[in-house]
Each structure stands twice: as structure tokens, then as C-alpha cells.
């Protein structure tokens, strides 16, 4: 085969919605990881559980994981909020359409 044909085939573009989800989830994941580490370095999940829900039976592992996902939820909400604020005005005028191009 001649060398001419050996160029990279075209790739389908990543959908804008996927990029947006990535841009919201990824930085919040990163920060949540750091915050979880710092938080649980000082707070023992078992001690926290005794202070908050002493009637529930929560192990330390569950406490760490639960803490991480709650913090991720919080940071992801902040990222989502930022995205909403940064939406171009023409899109806001058109209204919220999850499928619309950003």
C-alpha cells in the first residue's frame, strides 16, 4: 500500500454535553479528593458518627466513602453553579435546553 493512505482517519467529535459533564465532574472530583484527605486526617469517622448519628451502625470505611461522595456532591454543585453563571447570554435567552450547543 502506498504511504499516501496512511493518515489518521477522522474521529467523531466528542459531544459538547459530554465535555460539559467532564468539566463539571473532574475538577470537583479532584478537589473533593484533597478535601476528604485533609478532613479525615483530623476527624475520625467513628467519632463523627458518635456525634451525629449514634444510633446508626456505620463502619469507618463507609464513613470515608460517604464523606468523599458528600464532599464531591458539594464541590460538583459549586462547579455546576459556575457553569450556569458562565452560560453565554444567547443561551440563557433561549432557555435551558440540555441538548443545546454551548
Amino acid at each position: 500500500m502506498s504511504r499516501r493512505t496512511t493518515h489518521p482517519p477522522e474521529q467523531e467529535p466528542t459531544p459538547a454535553s459530554l465535555q460539559r459533564v467532564g468539566a463539571i465532574l473532574w475538577p470537583s472530583f479532584f478537589v473533593a479528593g484533597v478535601v476528604t484527605m485533609v478532613f479525615f486526617a483530623y476527624v475520625d469517622p467513628e467519632a463523627l458518627q458518635q456525634m451525629t448519628f449514634p444510633s446508626l451502625k456505620l463502619s469507618r470505611e463507609l464513613g470515608y466513602s460517604l464523606g468523599f461522595f458528600l464532599i464531591w456532591l458539594a464541590t460538583a454543585s459549586a462547579s455546576l453553579f459556575t457553569w450556569i453563571l458562565l452560560r453565554p447570554s444567547r443561551q440563557v435567552r433561549r432557555g435551558f435546553h440540555p441538548g443545546s450547543k454551548s
Binding site: 499516501r4 496512511t6 474521529q11 473532574w26
Partner: protein
């Protein structure tokens, strides 16, 4: 009279950083920097995959035991109370990143970043299964047939195994790995299984599919590393003064370094680079360099390059192999770009080509912008010295701190319910809870004593207490301090805890209350 200027913001359609990514097919390369990277991959991944299996004093050498809140690292045990060491370590890592970036650019990205290291392995697997660049492109372009299914299937199977093994090893740092291996896979706990699969998925996605997109879009360091660069930073650069005008040549031609033409002047050379990037040759088009670099303002166009005589040609033969080997798919000849992870693949590739055509090496090389521009370059400059000194100070402090850690932490809590109580013999008593932490891995005995400067007769009710604490154990010791019946008001007391079989001592201050006058 002031009039409003009718301005309005033009909504930029291309406001997004994101461009749809072409798949990059890095071509295999060999040379100095490739050997260096393979060595780094073997070393770093070797540590990652091997460390959890090592034993030290009868326990896993590196075990970050989150459930027990104890972190064992080669005979040292760290507790959450030692968080200072971890934060200092992170500061050291950040400073090291500043130092090495200012000195020699993105060394971390090219050789040590987990993304690079795991991507490298994923590319090796891809190469074993599907062949080198051209074969992979042809395979992707070809219709689905038996060979394509087999080759792609093998690659995905190996990727999946590699990713699962990585996830398993990762969790093995937190959960004793031999036990984890024995329970594979149905005995895994819920969270263990979750994190193994999660980490495996992340490895599979990042190393297999996202690759350079992680560096371009996800990595914060890639976005701010340029702030640490200056014109004396070692970068990977193409020498346009020597290489331009680029182009293939039909017959042998000596290097410009040995010809009357010599090096071009800077302005001409960069103009040629710009015009070549605006009017890519057929070979450049085939290589399809990506990248976001803009060599001039928007709308600036340039004339295509004229046809040069053989004698005018520079040393770049426009073989585009530097583009083909690039894992991020850029053309280094356009200059320093933020996509460049400084892996040195283009240096290896170009050196090999220069060797083949009989030119001296180094058309693409590690150099500084000042060198390229023919200005004096300085390695030892204030920022290097400042970063270096700070780095040394932190490392020194960290090592001193870790080697001189006290194996004992003591804290004291006063009983919150009663200020004081009266014993049957009329003496005044206060109750406390002492919290002792044995930070050593071995069990130790400690003795608790109490003293006060202004109450000579003070003592622990049951005499001095001896306590045994297991390695890493936090012991709560309730103690009662008695004083004579004449004591009144507030007094300072001191609890002294010292090790019987270990050189450790801790003094904690608290208060003793008697009846108020």
C-alpha cells in the same frame, strides 16, 4: 460632548477550549530519551506493583490502613496526628515541581507523571497487538474483519487485565494485599470491589482512550506550567535557523553547518516557520499535526514559500517523523507549545534521521530559548537558587522531623461533670482523662506522674500509674488527682508521661480546682 460608543461583545462561537480530538497514533521511536522513559516506567511502575507485596517486620511494608487509621511505610508508622509530615511532603512535591520546571521544563510530565507512565504501557500493548503507527491507522480505517476483531479484541483484553491489576494493586495499598488476593474476587468487600473497579476504569479510560487529552484539558499543571518557564529554562526546541527552509532533497547535500549558507538570521527563519505552518506541505498534511498554537494574530496570512534552490535548503528534510512520534500529535517545529509534555520522542526521532542523512545531531534538542536565539544563557539564576534553597530546607526539616518524632503524644481532658470532689478522708480530688498515643510500631510501657509547683502534697490517688500501649494504640486513662483538704481555688498541675522501655517524655499542663474561698 460625550457619546456612547456603540460597542457590544461579540459572542464568540469558539469560546470553548475543547476541540474534537483526533486519535493520535504515536510512531515507535528509539534513542536516549526513549530509553530514559522506559527506565522511568520500569522503576515507577515497579515500585507501584511491587511495594504492596513486600514484607517488613512481619507486616506489609507499605500499608495505608485507613480502617485502623495507621499508615505503615517501611517500618515507620504514621498516625493522623502526623498529618504535618504529609502536608510538608506535599509542599516539598510542589516546590520540587517548581524547581524542576524552572530548570528543565516538564520533566515530570515526560517521565514521571502517572498519566505518561500508564499511557506508555497502554501504547506498548496497543503496539504488540496492532503493530506500529501505519499498521494501526490502516487497521482503524479498514472494514471489520476477522483480523481486526482479533487484534482489537486482544488489545482490549490486555488493557482490561492491565487495568484490573492496577486497580487491585491500588486497593492493595489500603487493604492487606495477600488477604485481598486470597479473597479474589467474590470475597471482596463492597467498597474494596468498588474502588478496584473504579481505579481500573480510570486507568483503562485515561491510559487507553483519553491519553493526551488528560494533559491538555484535565491537568491543572499543564495550564500553569508556563508561569514557571523563562528564557533560560531547558526546553525541547527545533532550531529554525539551521533547519529552515525545510524540504526534501533529491541528492546528497551537506549540512548547513558545513556549507557556505550557514545559519539563517532569526527573523527570516521564524518567517519561514510561520509560512510553512500556514501552507503545509503534502507531507505535513499527511502527518496531521494537531495543536492549538497560533503563530500570528487572527487573520494574518502569509505568502507561500518560494521554491528554494538546493544550496539554500536548511537541514530539516521535512520527513515529519518528529510529528509522527509525538504522543500529543503536535509539530515541534512550530515552537514551544503547551501540549508538549517534553518526552523527547521528537529528539530521538530527529537524531536518528540526521544520522541517516549524515547531518550532525541536534536539529531538535534540549536547549534554552536564549541559546536558540544566540543570547547568553544562565542556568544558575535567582529563581533556581530560591526554589533550590527552599526545597533543601523543607527536605532537611522533613527528614529531621520524621527521624526525631516523639513516639508519644499525650493530651489531658478534665472531667466536665464535677469541678472537684471530696474523698472520705477530706482530701480534694479532681478527675481527668489522659489520652496517650503510642506512635511506635512496638508496644511500650509508660508511667504517669503528677506534680504542681504550689501544691506540694499532690499525688495520683492510686500512686503513679503504669500503662501499656500497643503500637499505634490510643489509650484513654482515667486518673484521679488528690490534694490535701486545705486546697482552694485554681492551681496549675503538670502531668508527666515518660516511657519505661523507650526514650519518650511528654508534659501536659492542666488545672486543679478546689472549693472557692
Amino acid at each position: 460632548m460625550s457619546r456612547r460608543i456603540p460597542l457590544h461583545v461579540v459572542d464568540d462561537e469558539s469560546s470553548s477550549y475543547y476541540v474534537s480530538e483526533r486519535k493520535v497514533y504515536p510512531r515507535e521511536v528509539s534513542g536516549r530519551f526513549d530509553r530514559l522513559r522506559v527506565a522511568a516506567v520500569v522503576w515507577l511502575l515497579g515500585m507501584f506493583y511491587l511495594f504492596p507485596w513486600l514484607r517488613w517486620n512481619g507486616r506489609q511494608a507499605v500499608l495505608l490502613d485507613l480502617p485502623a487509621r495507621q499508615f505503615h511505610i517501611f517500618g515507620l508508622m504514621f498516625l493522623p496526628q502526623d498529618f504535618l509530615f504529609l502536608s510538608t511532603l506535599l509542599i516539598i512535591a510542589a516546590l520540587a515541581l517548581f524547581f524542576f520546571t524552572a530548570l528543565a521544563g516538564r520533566l515530570f510530565c515526560g517521565y514521571a507523571c502517572p498519566q505518561t507512565v500508564w499511557t506508555e504501557v497502554a501504547i506498548w500493548i496497543e503496539r504488540w497487538c496492532e503493530g506500529d503507527r501505519n499498521k494501526r491507522m490502516k487497521l482503524d480505517a479498514s472494514p471489520w474483519n476477522r483480523e481486526k476483531i482479533l487484534r482489537k479484541g486482544a488489545r482490549h483484553l490486555l488493557w482490561a487485565l492491565f487495568a484490573l491489576w492496577t486497580g487491585f494493586t491500588f486497593v492493595g495499598f489500603f487493604s492487606p494485599i495477600t488477604d485481598l488476593a486470597r479473597r479474589t474476587p467474590f470475597g471482596w468487600g463492597g467498597w474494596e470491589a468498588f474502588w478496584i473497579l473504579f481505579y481500573a476504569f480510570a486507568t483503562w479510560g485515561n491510559a487507553g482512550f483519553l491519553r493526551q487529552q488528560v494533559c491538555k484539558y484535565m491537568c491543572p499543571y499543564a495550564r500553569f506550567q508556563s508561569a514557571m518557564f523563562d528564557r533560560n529554562t531547558l526546553i525541547i526546541a527545533y532550531d529554525p535557523m539551521r533547519g529552515e527552509p525545510r524540504g526534501p532533497r533529491k541528492r546528497a547535500l551537506a549540512s548547513v553547518l558545513a556549507r557556505a549558507r550557514g545559519l539563517l538570521d532569526k527573523v527570516t527563519a521564524y518567517d519561514y516557520v510561520f509560512r510553512a505552518s500556514q501552507h503545509p506541505s503534502a507531507a505535513d498534511n499527511r502527518a496531521q499535526a494537531g495543536g492549538t498554537i497560533v503563530l500570528a494574530g487572527a487573520g494574518v496570512s502569509a505568502e507561500p514559500l518560494p521554491k528554494f534552490s538546493l544550496e539554500q535548503m536548511g537541514d530539516c528534510i521535512d520527513c515529519t517523523i518528529c510529528v509522527q512520534v509525538c504522543p500529543t500529535g503536535i509539530d515541534i517545529r512550530n515552537g514551544l507549545q503547551y501540549e508538549c509534555i517534553a518526552c523527547g520522542a521528537c529528539i530521538d526521532a530527529c537524531d536518528a534521521v540526521m544520522n541517516k542523512v549524515g547531518y550532525p545531531k541536534g536539529l531538535i534538542r534540549y536547549t534554552t530559548q536564549n541559546h536558540i536565539d544566540g543570547k547568553p544563557a544562565r542556568v544558575l539564576r535567582p529563581r533556581i537558587l530560591v526554589y533550590g534553597c527552599l526545597l533543601l530546607a523543607f527536605i532537611g526539616g522533613w527528614i529531621y522531623g520524621v527521624t526525631h518524632r516523639s513516639p508519644l503524644i499525650a493530651e489531658v481532658l478534665r472531667d466536665r461533670n464535677a469541678m472537684y470532689s471530696q474523698a472520705s478522708d477530706g482530701g480534694i480530688e479532681n478527675s481527668y482523662t489522659l489520652k496517650l498515643v503510642n506512635k511506635d510500631q512496638q508496644p511500650h510501657h509508660f508511667v504517669i506522674e503528677v506534680s504542681s509547683a504550689d501544691m506540694p502534697g499532690i499525688s495520683l490517688r492510686d500512686g503513679s500509674r503504669a500503662i501499656e500501649a500497643q503500637g499505634g494504640e490510643v489509650v484513654s486513662v482515667p486518673v484521679t488527682v488528690s490534694a490535701s483538704s486545705e486546697v482552694s481555688g485554681r492551681h496549675d498541675v503538670q502531668f508527666k508521661v515518660r516511657g519505661v522501655d523507650v526514650d519518650a517524655q511528654a508534659t501536659v499542663n492542666s488545672s486543679f480546682f478546689g472549693p472557692s474561698l
